[in-house]
Subunit: 121 residues, 2 copies
DNA sequence: CTTGAACCTCACATCGATGTCAAGTCCTAC
DNA sequence: GTAGGACTTGACATCGATGTGAGGTTCAAG
């Protein structure tokens, strides 16, 4: 599929998809005319990339991480280097802290919302 | 306390504390000489602000939210306007999505780490 | 006093993903 | 072939919290 359809199906802008290519995250084939041609599996990959971004990973980390994932299309997965594993363990710890933090904030918001919605403090 | 101590005790840079003041998030008193003088409660407030930032709230939202919180020092809490409540409900939904997303990413990282750490796929 | 650390203001830089605009090319349907 | 939508590259802008550096002031201790 071409970039417009991929953008529509993933909800990610064309701009961002071109950025992914620039960063080596998702490099599509090209038609003879030079237009990007994405395989079906690109949809899942884009969504995964967005998740990783949302989790605070940088594109540089993601580009090293991606080859280690077994995709839905059963691509062969490399083993992460010990260096990468160490970094991912850091990221995991960071994510755990972030989740705890988000839970706290969620409760704070709940309180404020409840208080304001009649059933006061 | 002065800004240096507050920075040390919260792990937040002096630069950021000055920014908080600029944004109206935490406005300290001033000594006759013009230096910032923070009350003890500022420590908790700074930590709360950081949590809210980490949860993706903008300083503009936080500045409207803060007066609605009952602080540890028992400050009187205003009721959120219905407009703010609606926005906070959006934020809460966003946070829920983010938590779900982080859980997914956490699992992905776990897989990669496990796979690379001997006990292969 | 004086010294040096801590503080002040102001301004500009940074980062990373994304928005946006311009000028040109490709592709599909007629 | 031709019109117009979809695509291309390239460059510059944005956002928000934070870093950084200059040049000057305040404070605490000797």
């Amino acid at each position: 599929m071409r970039i417009g359809e991929l953008a529509r199906r993933t909800g990610v802008s064309e701009r961002s998809l071109r950025y992914y290519e620039e960063q080596g995250l998702l490099v599509p084939a090209r038609t003879p005319g030079g237009q990007r041609e994405y395989p079906e599996a690109a949809v899942d990959r884009v969504i995964r990339i967005q998740e990783l971004f949302a989790a605070g990973l940088s594109s540089r980390k993601v580009v090293r991480l991606l080859p280690c994932l077994r995709d839905a299309d059963g691509g062969p997965s490399e083993n992460a280097t010990s260096r990468l594993v160490a970094e991912l363990e850091d990221e995991r710890a960071r994510i755990d802290r972030m989740i705890a933090d988000l839970r706290t904030t969620r409760e704070v918001l709940d309180d404020v919302i409840d208080t304001a919605s009649g059933r006061g403090a």
